[in-house]
């Protein structure tokens, strides 16, 4: 039986939730608002919140100066490509760890996670040299590979957690019915783990979309994604806050929209187990 919650308590929780939500969202809202201001209004003190001359000038300048769609398509290819490739590798890996654990499974999982603890700049030069010698510098395929490897520990860990909550008996039953390994993974396990796989997919797309170390350091012109697009608008000598805000808004808009439409899936996947 659900516990009775008083109206006052409900109101308090709602207010708190809204306050936290607004505090988190405010910088993004401010960026969007600044993108519609002139440069002079962007630095005005005290700043105006809504009552200023709205202008689209910054967006047209940004579009004129850089090729947004090339950067955008690179971002899409790199983030989706690396996530899908990562899932392809991680689903069988997580399956074996969840259902056929060995003596060292836990150690392997911890070891995989430990690779995330090394600061990326520590391996920049070796990776750069490898990329140079294999001709992968400034290629989308190279970035897909690097981002796959970087996000693989997270993908494996997330999937492992979801898979572990699926009762092994269901898979056993499938085996009793004559399912082979491949059919077991594709027809039994995957449909049951869809919420988990979906939230892993979404989270990794967001992580790859926002990744700004490797995408800046391993690209030049051809494979440069939206992170490079933003980096061309921040300036240590010159106040171009409005243009920078316009570039940032254009860069985060696609992922914000995807996140908005898939938030239910994302929250469900992150907060619930696979079988409840």
């Amino acid at each position: 039986m659900a516990r009775a919650v008083s109206t006052r308590r409900k109101a308090l929780v709602t207010i708190c939730a809204w306050a936290v939500g607004i505090a988190i969202f405010f910088p993004i809202l401010w960026t969007v608002l600044t993108s519609f201001k002139t440069e002079a209004e962007a630095i005005a003190s005290p700043p105006s919140f809504l009552f200023f001359d709205w202008t689209l000038e910054n967006y047209s300048t940004v579009q004129e100066r850089s090729d947004y769609f090339r950067h955008f398509s690179n971002s899409v290819i790199i983030s989706f490509g690396s996530t899908l490739l990562g899932l392809l590798i991680a689903i069988p890996a997580a399956w074996s760890m969840a259902f056929v654990p060995g003596k060292r499974t836990k150690d392997v999982l911890m070891w995989m996670l430990s690779t995330k603890m090394l600061p990326p700049v520590g391996v920049l030069i070796p990776i750069y040299l490898l990329f140079r010698d294999t001709g992968l510098l400034d290629t989308r395929i190279g970035l897909v590979m690097v981002l796959t490897l970087i996000n693989l520990p997270i993908i494996v860990w997330m999937l492992f957690t979801y898979f572990r909550e699926i009762p092994g008996e269901i898979l056993e039953a499938a085996r009793m019915d004559g399912a082979e390994l491949w059919s077991e993974i594709v027809y039994v396990l995957t449909p049951m783990a869809v919420p988990g796989i979906a939230s892993t997919l979404l989270l990794n797309i967001i992580l790859s979309w926002n990744e700004a170390f490797w995408t800046l350091n391993l690209t030049a012109v051809d494979a440069a994604p939206l992170t490079a697009f933003i980096a061309s608008y921040s300036s240590p000598e010159g106040l171009f806050y409005a243009k920078l805000s316009a570039a940032s808004t254009m860069a985060i808009a696609p992922i914000l929209i995807i996140g908005w439409f898939s938030q239910k899936q994302l929250v469900r996947g992150l907060t619930f187990g696979a079988v409840k």
């Binding site: 030069i125 012109v221 061309s232 300036s235 106040l239």
Partner: protein, 436 residues
Amino acid sequence: MAFHTRALLSACAMVALCASASAETITIATVNNGDMIRMQGLTKDFTDKNPDIEVKWLTMEENVLRQRVTTDVATKGGQFDVMTIGTYEVPIWGKQGWLVSLNDLPESYDVDDILPAIRGGLTVDGELYAAPFYGESSMVMYRKDLMEKAGLEMPEAPTWDFIVEAAKAMTDKENEIYGICLRGKAGWGENMAFLTAMANSYGARWFDMDWKPQFDTPQWKDTLTTYLDVMNEAGPPGASSNGFNENLALFQTGKCGMWIDATVAASFVTNPKDSQVADKVGFALAPDNGLGKRGNWLWAWSLAIPAGTQKEAAAKKFIEWATSKEYLELVAAEEGWANVPPGTRTSLYENPEYQKVPFAKMTLDSINSADPQNPTVDPVPYVGVQFVAIPEFQGMATVVGQAFSAALAGSMDADAALAAAQAATEREMKKAGYLK
């Protein structure tokens, strides 16, 4: 069978022909300031004159670009054919053999026309390793109306004593007007660029001829105490986190009486579209202390060719175009003389049209008063006015900058900051092998 072979051969020949006829593409990495973006916009002039060369651009923020091109040049990655680099990098990279010499530029390029101070900073052992695209120094920008209200008149070449006096007289904290805005944010290119240049005018230096750090000398103490006193009395609140952009915002919104910073700021603060004080700004040389050295810096963004490139000839052609006299005329014709990249060529300052630009003379005088080979009163073993052109400097100066920024924030006094700077620098210099 014979027919197939012939067809295959002709196809191969066609492909080879197409490949040889297709244009060579050069990739240029550059910082995203106004002059460079203008150059990007004018690329068509270059490609029209050189139809066999195509140009691709990577424009980035200074710090990101520095990291990106350093990785590439050090590993001979070959990603870029032309790089925009600063006066700090050129001597270090030139010595390492990472850059292609530009000594063979044709006579028509007129290399002797490049301002000697700028050229000196880009030359290592007689080899010119980069061609300057634009040069800048630092100067005093001040509010003429506030100066008049304070009953003072700014000389063309002020002293530090005058600046301190004027800053205190112009301050009106109740109305949020602060006499002076200076960099306080920690960083080798932030507060340390300003303080190192200021220290030169006090006769201070980073190292003596034996590479021994000099922060324990009275000259550095004078520099830092003057800076802290004037900033505490007449500076804006929270100055320890102010860099170029923060001070620019304060100046443009009418909150600073004086601002000593890069000459490039002149075009921003006098632009009525962005600046509320555009018609009230005056300029003066950076201050001195009667020792024959002014507290201004010298910087040039220059174009260089990394040693790993396969397209050296095309890259040289581009550099020749972008840093030529003809390019300056092209910008003047398209966008007016005020938008011509400043500070590189003597002939530009002899041009009567350019002499009409309000900040032209001040920029030239500032650049000419800086000498990267002899930055301060006593001799030094290094090159550089507001930096020391050794690879260890970035890390060291950032640590020193943090101590000085902490002193400005009030969490330590000047003596403690100087002691910390001395200790950190000695440690680093020992580690790097300069000191026994």
